[in-house]
Amino acid sequence: MAGIRPGQFVMLKVPSSEVFLRRPFSVYDYRRGLLSVLYKVAGKGTAALAQGRARQRVMVLGPLGNGFTVLAGHEAIVVAGGIGIAGVSLLWSKLRGKKSLFWGCASDAEAGLVNDMISCEPYVSTMDGSLGCKGSVVDLLSQHITALKRPAQVFACGPEPMFVSLRDLLKGERIPCQVLLEERMACGLGICFGCVRKTLDEAEPYKRVCKEGPVFDLWQISL
């Protein structure tokens, strides 16, 4: 797996007979042959994964999908909502040049989970105000965006409402923005056509998140 690009993902076979299909996870980090994923327990698959033992073998399929495209000469603005930090962390660690990280969480408890893994001081917001700025991460970004240098490009991963707010914030200037989408998947390879996302392409609106994505142009997806 030498050539993992930030934004790509892997399918993990959760070691539990209760979990039928593989599960997709962003590559959180990859160095010296060690691949890390960061996840939040949200359902049966992640709950079973969390109960795995140390050194337990897990089948990994990947790297899969298309990663982020970094534009030359652009200042990078990385925006993450909650566990969406897992999708942009590898990108953040590889970005050279001027960059800023905006991270929004529900509370300081969520932010604290990966506090020590992020080797920078991000702009942080929490919905309950327990850490950093109170409010959403896009509110926080809106307070700083005019001060950031142009040309700029945005990379984002997080929940759907965050993408909608981002679109509203960025549309005036049409700043290039790539978003990493999440969707339930069966195969991860593009063979089942189950994980599609509606785009503005009228000829072929439904694009596979696993194959044409998971990184999409914010201005191409239907929100």
Binding site: L21, R22, C192, V196
Partner: protein, 283 residues
């Protein structure tokens, strides 16, 4: 073989194994014109099963032959073209649009389309409608025709017989079962679609055994095959060939693994030809 719609257009699996691994590639269900399919969500996982509501998204016959078929020529891999329509006329026009080619060994007519409200669902449920559409398609194409049946019928042998009497050259049993899932958080029907996966095996096996005993054309066994033991069960029950679907989502190497498993089984018992086991379990 793969089951239609579970191996994309073939090219997607090539980073893992080449399509000439297959006895034949069964195309994603094609329509005369491109079809967008259903809006997401399209998937719901159950215990050992999957509900899908892809809705037969496909690029249409024309683009399939322009863009996807060259791979099978390059790999010299036989192709079974699965196709569907929303009316009898659609089926006929679609079949007509598929030209003869030495690598196209058969057409496979999807008589279920359980995901789409119009047309498809009715056609496969009534023997008379099956007879009519199969007859018309046979008149429109010189290619061998496999009728892929829906399990949502009261007398599947009767449906198979209607297809046979109309001129079908083979029967594929079976397609997904109509199913639904409820999301208890949103208190909503999360998905209506077709159910597939290993639970289907004994149900499909019963139909294969019954149909292969009653109808004198080859039967393809499809439904819940996860390993070579499942595949061998279908062959012994009377299937001349099998198709593997959902297993590929669980393990993308399922098809090559099953093929190796069948070979090893035959070798260990000094059985020279697969034909020797076909139908041996027909009581």
């Amino acid at each position: 073989m793969n089951a239609s719609g579970t191996l994309g257009y073939g090219s997607e699996i090539e980073p893992l194994w080449t399509v000439d691994t297959l006895g034949a590639y069964v195309s994603k269900g094609l329509s005369l014109l491109p079809h967008h399919g259903n809006p997401p969500p399209r998937l719901w996982e159950e215990a050992s099963a999957l509900i899908n509501s892809v809705g037969l998204q496909n690029i249409g016959v024309k683009r399939f032959f322009e863009e996807k078929f060259p791979l099978f020529e390059q790999r010299n891999t036989p192709v079974i073209v699965n196709f569907f329509g929303f009316t009898e006329e659609d089926y006929v026009r679609c079949a007509e649009a598929i030209g003869a080619h030495s690598l196209i060994v058969a057409l496979e007519i999807n008589l279920s389309c359980p995901n789409i409200k119009a047309g498809g669902i009715c056609l496969g449920k009534e023997a008379e409608a099956v007879f009519r559409v199969v007859r018309k398609v046979k008149e429109a194409t010189p290619l061998p025709l496999v009728a892929k049946l829906t399990p949502e019928v009261t007398d599947i042998v009767g449906i198979a017989r209607a297809a046979f009497e109309a001129g079908a050259d083979g029967i594929n049993v079976l397609n997904t079962f109509p199913a639904a899932a409820v999301d208890i958080e949103s208190k909503a029907l999360a998905l209506r679609g077709g159910l597939s996966g290993p639970f289907l095996k004994p149900l499909a096996l019963r139909s294969v055994a019954d149909i292969s005993r009653s109808i004198p054309i080859p039967v393809i066994g499809t439904g819940g095959i996860m390993d070579h033991r499942d595949a061998l069960s279908f062959l012994m029950a009377g299937a001349a060939a099998v198709q593997v679907g959902t297993a590929t989502f669980v393990d993308p190497f399922a098809i090559p693994r099953i093929i190796r498993g069948i070979d090893a089984f035959l070798d260990a018992r000094r059985i020279a030809r697969l034909d020797e086991i076909i139908g041996t379990a027909r009581a």
